[in-house]
């Protein structure tokens, strides 16, 4: 299993905002383990999806030269469950970025189809799910002066491929 919790970037403004999508499928095991008999996307994994969206945003702000590590979840509040067949939208905005780290304000919404239109068809709506504030550390700039390997183990090939090819402006003709 790959530890990738977003499917595609829908928008990316370096140093400002990133919007990423995650399609939630009934085939995913974790949906069934969280509340047996009632498949929902675990809140902890929604936070992970935001951390990946925001982590890449923070990394791009410094051209992926820093090792960006999630250091603190300042708060996370949820008002709605996410269920199979729905699409999570992660919007991460950089509130602050300095040499030593960054803070992020994240908003989670969900796109889902509901009955509507009066002719038996459905319509797409976007509903709020929650907000997540988090902080990232540039670990090579830590106050204790600890040394880490030179190789950037955070932005490995999986994450860079995600960032470079799974995005709205990269299309492969099929």
């Amino acid at each position: 299993m790959r530890w990738i919790w977003i499917d595609k970037f829908e928008k990316f403004e370096p140093g400002v905002v990133a919007v990423a999508l995650k399609n939630v499928s009934l085939a995913e095991e974790h949906l069934h383990d969280y509340v047996p008999g009632f498949p929902v996307m675990p809140a902890s994994l929604i936070i992970e999806g935001m951390a990946q969206t925001a982590g890449i945003l923070v990394g791009a702000a410094r051209n992926f030269q820093e090792k960006v590590i999630l250091a603190k979840i300042s708060n996370a509040t949820f008002s709605r469950l996410v269920r199979p067949g729905e699409q999570i939208v992660y919007t991460a905005r950089i509130a602050n970025v300095k040499e030593t780290g960054a803070s992020i304000e994240g908003v989670v919404t969900v796109r889902t189809r509901v009955a509507g239109g009066g002719d038996g068809t459905s319509q797409l709506v976007e509903e709020p799910v929650g907000t997540i504030a988090m902080m990232f550390s540039h670990i090579d700039q830590n106050m204790a002066g600890l040394k880490f390997p030179e190789f950037n183990f955070v932005f490995n090939s999986q994450f860079m491929e995600l960032f470079e090819t799974y995005r709205w402006d990269f299309q492969i003709k099929l």
């Binding site: 603190k72 300042s74 300095k98 780290g101 106050m143």
Partner: protein, 126 residues
């Protein structure tokens, strides 16, 4: 801005950043030892002070850097007289008297009390 006004706002910042009760945030409370601040929390506090007071906190101004790696300033785990003088000039806003009495570098964090933050902010807003 008066000292009381700054204190009230610093108290709000710390209550949020460190998830502690307002009553715990007294002027003499030490950020790490008493309020449980970890290193990332210092960055969080810096961001929130900047936002709350509309100030800029340059790197190394509130928390001095590259000081304890200098052998002139530290000897056998204690800050030397020269190191103390350097600290005094870089942290004119802080009350270093307790630290000077026992300048063990492991106790340097205790210099960062709520009152130290209030004094620092006062130098920036007035």
């Amino acid at each position: 801005m008066t000292q009381d006004e700054v204190f009230a706002k610093v108290q709000d910042v710390l209550t949020t950043a460190l998830a502690v009760d307002k009553e715990e945030v007294t002027p003499e409370a030490r950020l790490s030892a008493d309020l449980g601040a970890e290193s990332i929390d210092y960055l969080d506090i810096t961001f929130q002070l900047e936002k709350t007071f509309g100030i800029k906190i340059p790197k190394g101004e509130l928390i001095p850097e590259n000081l304890f790696s200098n052998p002139e300033f530290v000897s056998n785990g204690k800050v030397t007289a020269k190191g103390i003088a350097e600290l005094r000039s870089r942290m004119a806003f802080a009350d270093l008297s307790k630290f000077e009495a026992d300048p063990d570098i492991n106790k340097f964090r205790d210099v960062f009390t709520v009152d130290t933050l209030v004094r620092y902010v006062l130098t920036k807003v007035n």
